[in-house]
């Protein structure tokens, strides 16, 4: 679409509207990241789209909405849990300092639930469309799916308490856990006991490809006050088998290449292991 030149205003408008195909959008996004002129045009188009948004009928917010918001703030500003995406088989990859082995039973169970949620969700949709007569089975699947979603909601809720259990009197060490599905570019990462960073620094997660290619940036994060952080479904290329994962400290805004030292890292087991 770009051919190394600027992108037409027609296409930038569709990009701002998210009306391009995923492939086209990725191409425009890559160009816009590098091109100040097109980036500014997108900003201006977004300004125009805001005017369109203004044209809607102004509806009163539901009763109690303000109270519910304030209650959430008082409870620590819990966001909505991200919705689990349709996922296939997942690989579980530990990331931790050498010698740390903990919580893998629980983590594996959560990963299994993630996979379960996905397959159940897919089945529910298929059954609803094609097998309307089999309502009993659909209901059972939906119930199971709802349960799995609840588990995922807890896992992903920003306000959930995350506790890393270690042998008594052991100093808390930074630890990260990654679930990676190369075939779908799916990556879920959670970290605990991460040290606080100065304002001008960020942690950055890296996928180190199996084929020896350069590490792929897979999202930046800053831990909360308790040292917890997560990266959910960063935009990364598909079908890149990982040799390892690592986390570095970079300048705020991130880096294209990792800066030593690696804070935590973990080697990926072979697929299917």
């Amino acid at each position: 679409m770009t051919g190394g030149r600027h992108i037409s205003q027609d296409d930038l408008t569709l990009y701002a509207l998210q009306a391009l195909s995923p492939e086209e959008a990725a191409e425009v996004r890559a160009h816009v990241r590098e091109c100040e002129v097109c980036r500014e045009l997108v900003a201006e188009i977004n300004g125009e789209l805001a005017l369109v948004a203004l044209s809607v009928e102004q509806e009163a917010v539901p009763e109690g909405a303000r109270r519910r918001l304030m209650a959430k703030l008082a409870a620590g500003g819990a966001g909505s849990a991200p919705v689990a995406e349709a996922r296939g088989r997942g690989e579980v990859v530990p990331i931790r300092p050498a010698g740390k082995a903990m919580l893998w039973t629980a983590w594996g169970a959560v990963a299994a639930l993630l996979v379960l949620a996905v397959s159940l969700e897919v089945q529910v949709q298929r059954l609803s469309a094609r097998l309307r007569q089999e309502t009993a089975q659909t209901a059972r699947l939906m119930e199971a799916s709802a349960h799995a979603k609840e588990v995922l909601g807890v896992m992903m809720a920003p306000t959930a308490q995350r506790v890393v259990l270690t042998p008594a009197r052991t100093k808390a060490m930074p630890i990260g856990r990654a679930i990676y599905l190369p075939a779908r570019g799916g990556l879920i990462f959670q970290a605990n006991n991460m040290a606080a960073l100065p304002e001008d620094k960020t942690y950055e997660l890296w996928v180190i490809p199996m084929n020896g290619a350069a590490p792929i940036p897979a999202g930046m994060f800053r831990p909360d006050w308790a040292g917890n952080a997560s990266v959910m479904m960063p935009e990364i290329p598909w079908n890149v088998p990982a040799k390892a994962f690592g986390v570095t400290i970079e300048k705020a805004g991130g880096s294209a290449t990792p800066t030593a030292p690696i804070i935590i890292s973990g080697a990926a087991p072979a697929a299917g292991e």
Binding site: L14, E44, G47, A50, V52, V56, G79, E85, I236
Partner: protein, 219 residues
């Protein structure tokens, strides 16, 4: 996007777009949003958006309440227009406001126009919900230029009326295309299939509608 939990750096954009041959209309475009009285009349009795955002960054819950009072209705209305479901629309509104609470620095992307930024983010998130997909773009990625801060209810209502007036005077097919793309979240290919028009026509029509809207506001 892969940038999670952190505001993207606000790209410095010192280039005068009016000098850019690709964008001869930019100077005029900006002026459309800078109509006299539309930007700086938030009123002495209420905090400006900037002050409000600074207080929110300092974890002032009351400021968050004020932001809700100022823009909650707009955000909710946009989400409701897309989703047609009050429960889902409120979920979108709550989610977006909580994101603001948890990362107010991202509003640097709004370049001083918090209301306009929230309206666009609400639309994008609502479309994600409509399409049952995970957020296609982090809110950090929505950068928005111009439009004024809309902080004053009087000015906001004035702008709403003006925009409605201009939109209603656009050719019917342009109105319909923008409606399908913006509020129904259809891709240009889907719009083309629905209307029977060529893809190129659909693209041009949407762009023309936005240009028409801008020019209409200048008039």
């Amino acid at each position: 996007m892969h940038k999670m939990g952190l505001a993207l750096p606000l790209a410095p954009l010192p280039v005068s777009m009016a000098e850019n041959p690709l964008n001869p209309n930019s100077a005029a475009r900006r002026s459309a949003y800078e109509a006299p009285g539309s930007l700086d009349s938030a009123g002495a009795s209420q905090a400006s958006d900037e002050v409000l955002m600074a207080r929110i960054a300092a974890r002032d819950r009351e400021a968050m309440g004020q932001l809700f009072d100022r823009y909650g209705r707009l955000v909710y209305s946009v989400a409701l227009r897309v989703l047609k479901d009050p429960g889902q629309a409120e979920d979108v509104m709550q989610e977006i406001l909580l994101q603001v609470w948890n990362g107010p620095a991202t509003l640097a992307q709004a370049r001083g126009s918090v209301g306009a930024w929230l309206a666009v983010v609400a639309r994008n998130r609502a479309i994600d919900v409509l399409r049952r997909r995970r957020p296609s773009d982090s809110v950090d990625d929505v950068v928005l230029a111009a439009s004024g801060d809309l902080a004053s209810e009087v000015e906001r209502n004035r702008m709403i009326e003006k925009v409605r007036g201009v939109l209603s005077k656009l050719p019917q097919e342009q109105q319909r295309s923008v409606d399908m793309a913006f509020f129904e979240g259809l891709t240009h290919a889907e719009i083309a299939a629905k209307t029977g028009d060529p893809l190129g026509t659909v693209k041009t029509r949407i762009r023309s509608a936005l240009i028409g809207l801008r020019k209409g506001l200048e008039a």
